[in-house]
């Protein structure tokens, strides 16, 4: 079932409130919801929630034969499927517009930005490489699932540890985690995604991290993916709301400060989780 568009009173109220720089959840226009990360018992399992939006990311590794075109590179695949669990507006089977946008953006942010070093996933050239599979489960949609999914994905990849493999002659020996400490993936940088929503009314300011209602009523969005080193990986603008160069640059600056804050937050969370996983060495 297609969701009914928001009712007239909701639309009118949101527009009047936003003109006074007020948002329904009490945030200021350029304020993000604080993400919450919960790590699972396994390495590479993370539950990321921003407000009521909730995404679970899970990473697993498998050994496969590489493609003949790229014998020295590992493979990374991302599975992201929106099920009706997130919200009753998503149907099983046919991918919705939202799903296509999220999948393509995740591909650009996590795979094409070369966040994970693929050559380090090679075990034996042309014979064996690691296949890293990132699965995302969208549990609840309260707006801006894209940013939440990107965050969950990158945190899960950084949390993941693969077992160490040793090549002796032509054989490879897999060391169980009990024998040798598992290895983290070689990650070059951690891109974070920030979505801004624009409204048709020029008096309404752009807002960061739109809620579901704001996202539905917006005339267009802009997603910026960048890392804490101020390197923009993806900038994608959807919908036809013309913006000044200066305005875009202002939003990029906002995203830069947010990325720095988020990077420190993620590092701290990963460190805190890692300290609880101390293994006794005998």
């Amino acid at each position: 079932m297609r969701p009914p568009s928001p009712s007239i009173p909701e639309k009118e109220f949101l527009n009047t409130a936003l003109k006074q720089q007020l948002r329904i959840d009490g945030r200021s226009p350029l304020e993000m919801r604080t993400p919450k990360l919960v790590f699972g018992p396994e390495l590479g399992w993370v539950d990321c929630s921003m407000g009521k939006t909730r995404v679970i990311a899970y990473v697993e590794g498998k050994m496969v034969k590489p493609t003949p075109e790229r014998p020295y590179e590992g493979v990374i695949t991302i599975n992201s499927e929106l099920s009706p669990m997130a919200s009753s507006e998503y149907e099983p089977g046919r991918p919705s517009e939202e799903e296509v946008t999220i999948t393509r953006m995740l591909d650009k942010v996590i795979k094409r930005s070369d966040a994970v070093d693929k050559e380090s996933l090679c075990i034996l050239a042309g014979q064996r490489v690691w296949h890293i599979r990132l699965t995302l489960h969208f549990l609840a949609d309260a707006g801006n699932m894209l940013d939440c999914a990107c965050l969950a994905g990158i945190v899960a990849l950084r949390h993941f540890r693969r077992p160490e493999v040793e090549v002796i002659g032509d054989d490879e020996v897999i060391h169980s985690p009990l024998e040798r400490a598992p290895m983290p993936l070689a990650i070059h940088h951690s891109p974070f995604c920030f979505t801004f929503a624009f409204f048709a009314d020029p008096e309404t300011p752009p807002i960061l991290d739109p809620s579901q209602l704001e996202q539905r009523l917006s005339a267009g969005t802009m997603s910026i993916a960048l890392n804490a080193q101020k390197e923009i990986c993806v900038l994608q603008k959807l919908g036809g709301v013309p913006q000044d160069t200066e305005e875009i640059l202002r939003l990029v600056k906002v995203a830069v400060t947010q990325a720095k804050g988020l990077s420190i937050f993620v590092d701290a969370q990963l460190m805190a989780d890692w300290s609880t996983r101390k293994v006794e060495v005998r």
Partner: protein, 235 residues
């Protein structure tokens, strides 16, 4: 009025009265051995409740998905005009139908004109598991509106079904507390939608945040917590 016994689906309930009335979550079943005898079993998990004289029984639990029941007030949004009536989204599995003549003072010539996207406060007049629910915006006996009809302006908040019932309870602290700070209008639907209106957008946002914070499905804040939250909102 309440016993707080936890029941699970399929569990039999000791409900017996000459004039027995079963509410949500309970079902009467004929026993297999003797068809003239019947037992009452629970159909959902929750706290078993009964009225003081033990004639009315129901199961109290919280959920987010609304199942229409007759005589319940709901807040819905018009999604489509259809011949002599409207299709209204009330948050259930099916859309409800609302006849254009089911309004106070409506005649064949003089009917209310609702746009797609308008909000209505209505009563469920027919709810059957095999049929689409039907709504009405007046009392069928008196033909008066009794507060039902189109809701203009304001804002709609979605909350859990338990929160709706709490808000309808006159003993609940939230609405009197908010009312002591500023004047407000509200229409509480049993379908997890609450329509509110106040003079300033800031006040509407304050109500929305307080309801969300008090919702047992979300924050579950108590009176003290909400008072502290309201003080930070500058209303």
């Amino acid at each position: 009025m309440s016993s707080s016994e936890l029941v699970f689906p399929g569990q039999s309930v000791p409900a017996k009265h000459v004039n027995l009335k079963l509410g949500p979550g309970l079902q009467q079943q004929a026993s297999y051995s003797d068809p003239s005898e019947s037992t009452v079993v629970a159909t959902k998990a929750g706290l078993l409740q009964h009225s003081a004289n033990r004639s009315k029984w129901w199961v109290d639990s919280n959920s987010r998905r609304y199942v229409p029941a007759p005589q319940e007030s709901v807040v819905g949004a018009v999604t489509q005009r259809q011949g002599e009536g409207y299709r209204v989204d009330i948050g259930g599995a099916h859309q409800a139908s609302l006849d254009a003549l089911a309004f106070e003072g409506a005649t064949k010539r003089n009917k209310p004109n609702l746009k797609v996207g308008s909000l209505v406060y209505a009563r469920v007049s027919l709810a059957h598991k095999d049929m689409e629910p039907e709504l009405e915006c007046f009392d069928a006996q008196t033909r008066k509106s009794e507060g039902y009809g189109e809701l203009k302006g304001g804002f709609i908040i979605r909350c859990s079904l338990k929160m709706c019932r709490n808000l309808l309870d006159p003993k609940h602290f939230l609405l009197p507390l908010l009312g002591s700070k500023f004047p407000l209008e509200s229409a509480i639907g049993m379908n997890g939608r609450v329509w509110i209106s106040a003079k300033e957008p800031r006040q509407i946002i304050a109500i929305a945040r307080c309801i969300e914070a008090t919702d047992p499905d979300g924050g579950g804040m108590d009176a003290e917590g909400v008072k502290a939250l309201l003080d930070t909102l500058e209303v």
